[in-house]
């Protein structure tokens, strides 16, 4: 193989692809280099031979069959798209059936249920200094502990964004009998204000709020300084007693810290 630096550009030289200055440099080298002159002659001959080759047409029958096949392709793609759309629809329906992200809040008109009253009583005890059985490190630890006790746990566990975590402090967790139902009790401080959450299986709660197909109804009751919110979702019935000032919207962020739920919760207004 020719070792001269100029060799690398001989094909471009032979095809007149070089800038004038570069071409002049190669020409100067060629004048004094027999080896590169021979290499250039070989390369020029090879270029001429390669240029004899031609674009070869695809056999007509092959092309016709391929064309038909390729242009038929959109049909299965449409079926795939339709199947994907159907799967998305079914998945969405199942998702809503479980999570019911659309929340409607309404003012309570009926007398509070025993479950609500018990939740309110627990909250009063906790804000007066009562402690719960377990002091968790964080929310996740609290729910893990409750699950280990065989207590009801929420289908949607909170996953607070890092910038929101300082707002939430889980104080304690316990398993208790609330209005005849085995319930999980959680005590929080949210923005420094006390919040109590009680969860039981809906089947165990008398007069539990109904759960809609695609939404959940959150009943709101104002009792003194406290907002009492009750709802059912995912087979569970919840009571949350909070002393936050905005009808419990911020309290709802105990669970609804994820961005996908915030828009639905932000739209909450008591009716």
């Amino acid at each position: 193989m020719n070792q001269h630096h100029e060799f690398e550009r001989l094909a471009a030289f032979a095809e007149d692809q070089l800038e004038p200055l570069e071409r002049a440099t190669i020409e100067a080298h060629l004048r004094g280099c027999e080896e590169c002159r021979r290499a250039l002659a070989d390369i020029a001959r090879s270029i001429a031979l390669a240029n004899e080759l031609e674009i070869e047409r695809m056999p007509r029958e092959t092309a016709a069959a391929m064309r038909a096949q390729l242009l038929k392709a959109p049909r299965p793609i449409r079926w795939v798209a339709a199947a994907a759309a159907l799967a998305l629809l079914v998945g969405s329906a199942l998702y809503w059936q479980v999570n019911r992200p659309w929340a409607v809040m309404r003012g309570a008109v009926d007398a509070p249920t025993a479950f609500e009253q018990e939740g309110r009583r627990l909250h009063t005890q906790l804000r007066s200094g009562a402690s719960l059985d377990y002091a968790p490190r964080d929310d996740r630890d609290a729910w893990d502990w409750l699950a280990a006790q065989g207590a009801p746990v929420a289908g949607l566990l909170p996953d607070h964004p890092a910038d929101q975590r300082p707002r939430y402090q889980v104080i304690g967790a316990a398993v208790d009998e609330v209005a005849g139902a085995r319930a999980s009790v959680l005590s929080y401080r949210i923005d420094g204000r006390p919040v109590t959450l009680v969860l039981a299986h809906r089947r165990d709660v008398a007069n539990a709020p109904r759960a809609g197909l695609l939404s959940k109804t959150v009943t709101h009751r104002r009792e003194g300084d406290a907002n009492v919110l009750t709802w059912s979702v995912g087979g569970g019935t919840y009571v949350m007693v909070s002393e936050l000032e905005d009808h419990g919207q911020r309290a709802c962020f105990v669970c609804h810290t994820e961005r996908r739920f915030q828009s639905t919760i932000l739209a909450l207004r008591p009716q």
Partner: protein, 185 residues
């Protein structure tokens, strides 16, 4: 260089293809199929594989048309897909054909006398004997008629590397075809 008039598919045709117009997709296929097939054939050295590559290339082109942003020529974008697909097929294939036979079933053009056809087969065989990194620039330059800059864009290498690879490729081809003189033009 043989007649390799390359025309870019017009913007309107590409827009219609992006919209899923089957008639337009058919026209695009008709316009490009021989270039794709021929490139694949000279990279793979096997007609059946070249047909498979061609089909794969058009499936990819039809699916990715919306990704073609027009920053390079359409054909440069196309050749990049062809080269990569052909190389993938060749590497995945366990079939190895004797170089002499690889192009032997080439249909003889009626105007070609036997000697001319035999010459072409020898040149094609020598080309197939080059390593891939040298063969592909020769195919794109001398069969497909791309400029050095277009080859550089299609292969995502510098124009200087294209020039260097072509020099090395032709030096090797010249040795393989030492007894062959170019046809008088």
């Amino acid at each position: 260089m043989s007649d390799r008039t390359r025309s870019e598919p017009d913007v309107e045709l590409l827009d219609q293809c992006r919209a899923g117009n089957r008639e337009a997709l058919g026209r695009l296929f008709d316009c490009l199929k021989d270039r794709v097939y021929s490139t694949a054939l000279h990279i793979c050295g096997d007609r059946s594989m070249a047909a498979d590559v061609t089909q794969d290339v058009f499936i990819k082109v039809f699916a990715r048309l919306s990704q073609f942003d027009g920053t390079s020529a359409f054909t440069t974008w196309l050749y990049r897909i062809v080269v990569n697909t052909a190389i993938d097929h060749r590497r995945a294939s366990t079939r190895t054909l004797p170089l002499e036979d690889a192009m032997a079933d080439s249909p003889a053009p009626l105007i070609d006398p036997y000697a001319r056809l035999e010459r072409r087969r020898r040149i094609e065989a020598a080309l197939l004997g080059l390593p891939e990194n040298l063969r592909v620039p020769v195919v794109l330059r001398h069969i497909q008629g791309l400029s050095y800059t277009e080859i550089a864009e299609a292969l995502e290498i510098s124009a200087g590397t294209v020039a260097s690879r072509l020099s090395r490729a032709h030096a090797r081809l010249a040795r393989e075809l030492a007894d062959l003189a170019p046809e008088a033009s």
